[in-house]
Structures are given as structure tokens and as C-alpha cells.
Amino acid sequence: MAEEKKYKYSIIIPTYNERLNIALIVYLIFKHLRDVDFEIIVVDDGSPDGTQEIVKQLQNLYGEDRVLLRARAKKLGLGTAYIHGLKHASGDFVVIMDADLSHHPKYLPSFIKKQLETNASIVTGTRYVKGGGVHGWNLMRKLTSRGANVLAQTLLWPGVSDLTGSFRLYKKSVLEDVISSCVSKGYVFQMEMIVRATRKGYHIEEVPITFVDRVFGTSKLGGSEIVEYLKGLVYLLLTT
């Protein structure tokens, strides 16, 4: 019987003040990826709440080769956090996900499976198809999300249903290539990554994911966010 090639997966998780969530998410990753060769790279931006101490305890429990702490001195932004994590990634594939449990590790096997089945360069999680979903959004939030999505689809033809999602699996070389040409910040950065990948002709597949928004009460979508989004759309329209 031929030996199946075993791939290694590097999971990059940027953190800032995620002392409890990082422990929970590491536990859940280990729970759901039992027979997979992987490493978790925590890129912490100098959290004052002791996130790094918790990561060190997790290293004692799970091994320093499985849980890597690659911290930075202060908040330096998401894009650079991925670049920083990438430098230390030894896997064939890189997964990026949020630390706050809005991305559930139980979907990791489906990302891996989809990639192996289709040999895709990128597998992106989508909240907007059947099988996926969101919990914790009120009508206003859904309206802005849907409106933003329709606008982006019309203008950019991005080839994916969820543009701002940040739960993705990349072939390592593909992530290195795409990230080097992206300059935006925040969630526009996530959009830029996937649009540039589409323009470069990379094979992108989607898997449904569910997204539980636990940040109740804080409105993350004000007028300035909407302006930023529109500016991002125009920027992507003109430069990709």
C-alpha cells in the first residue's frame, strides 16, 4: 500500500488580550485535530492581560513544538502579524483564524479535507451559504453585512461568497505570494487577500462555517467603518 503523504499545518492565531480564549481555542484545536501533524503559532502583540503567560503554560502542557509563542512588543496590526507568524511556520499549509472563538476549530478537518480533495490553493470559510451561518447579529448588522456583500460582488466579482471572512487555509507558498502584495489594514486586508488571490488565478474553494459573535453590545460597525469599507472597495476596484 502506498504511503500517503502527510502534510503539516501551521495555525497562526494573532492575539491581543485573549488570555482565556487562547487556552480554550488551543484545547479545541487539539481535540479536533487528533491525527493531524500541526503547530499553533500564537502571535501576541504584548497583551497586558497575561496572554503570553497562559501560552507558556500551554506550551508546558502540549509541547513547545506544538504551541509556539512568537510575540511582538506592541499592537502592530493583523497583516504584519500574519507575516510574522509565517516566518516561523514550518508547515506545508497555513491556517489563519481568530482567537476569540468566533472561528470554531471543529471546522479545521473540513478545511483540510476540502483542500486534499480539490488540491485548492486556498480554502476559505464562508458564513453565507447553507450549512454555514451567524449567531449574535441583529437585523441592522445583517443588513450592513448583506449590503456590503452585494456591493462587493457587483463591483469586484471576487469569486467567493464571504469576502471579509478571516478563517482560511492557504498553501504556504500561496499565502507568502498573496500577502506580499497586500497593503490594506483591518478587514479590508482580508478582502484584499482574497481578491488578489482570485486575480492571480489561484484555485479557491469554500467550506461553510458558523460564526458565533460573542462580542455583544459593542457596535463594531459605525459610520467610519462604513466609509473605510467603501474606500477599501474603491481601492480594490482600481488596483486589482
Binding site: 488570555r19 482565556l20 487556552a23 480554550l24 484545547y27 479545541l28 503567560e53 497562559i54 503554560q57 500551554l58 508546558n60 502542557l61 472563538l101 470554531h104 458564513r127 453565507y128 451559504v129 447553507k130 450549512g131 454555514g132 451561518g133 451567524v134 449567531h135 449574535g136 437585523l139 445583517k142 443588513l143 448583506r146 449590503g147 456583500n149 452585494v150 456591493l151 457587483t154 463591483l155 469586484l156 466579482w157 486575480r199 458558523t210 458565533v212 460573542r214 476596484l237 482600481l238 488596483t239 486589482t240
Partner: protein, 89 residues
């Protein structure tokens, strides 16, 4: 080719078609003049329709919040019995 070039080519092609229609006068010119407005309005209506349909069909998953709470409880138990100091959060 940049995406915006693709879109502009489309706009040019459609405009050329529109101008030809105007010149050829197969359709009464008064109607032809209004075509761009009809087009923009239809596009706007289509967009609003897509937004409305999207909101109605927006997939939600309240059961996921419940499952997540179970997972969190399970994780907390495991972590505290294995020496991870998760404190009182």
C-alpha cells in the same frame, strides 16, 4: 488586466451599442435616450432585491451558541485539571 479595465471595457461596449441604437433608430429615439436610466434603475432594484433576499435567507445558527458554551465548559474543566491558570473569567 486590471479588473477596472474589464469593467470599463464592458461600459464602453454597452455605450457603443447604445449609440448605435440611437443612430440606427430601429427603436424610437425617445425610448433609446432613456435606456441608460432604465438600466441604472434596474440595477439598483436588482441590488436591493438581492439585499432583501439575502437578509431573509440569512443563515443563522442559534444552536451553535449552545454548542459553543458546552465546548467552553469542557475546555475549562480540562484546562483547570491540567494546571492552566484560567482564572475567574
Amino acid at each position: 488586466m486590471k479588473h477596472v479595465v474589464k469593467i470599463l471595457s464592458l461600459v464602453v461596449a454597452v455605450s457603443a451599442f447604445w449609440i448605435t441604437l440611437l443612430q440606427a433608430a430601429i427603436v424610437p429615439q425617445s425610448h433609446t435616450w432613456l435606456l441608460p436610466i432604465y438600466f441604472v434603475v434596474s440595477l439598483g432594484c436588482y441590488g436591493l432585491l438581492m439585499v432583501g433576499v439575502g437578509i431573509m435567507q440569512f443563515p443563522t445558527c442559534p444552536q451553535e451558541a449552545v454548542l459553543l458554551n458546552h465546548d467552553i465548559a469542557e475546555a475549562k474543566e480540562f484546562l483547570s485539571t491540567n494546571g492552566i491558570d484560567i482564572g475567574t473569567y
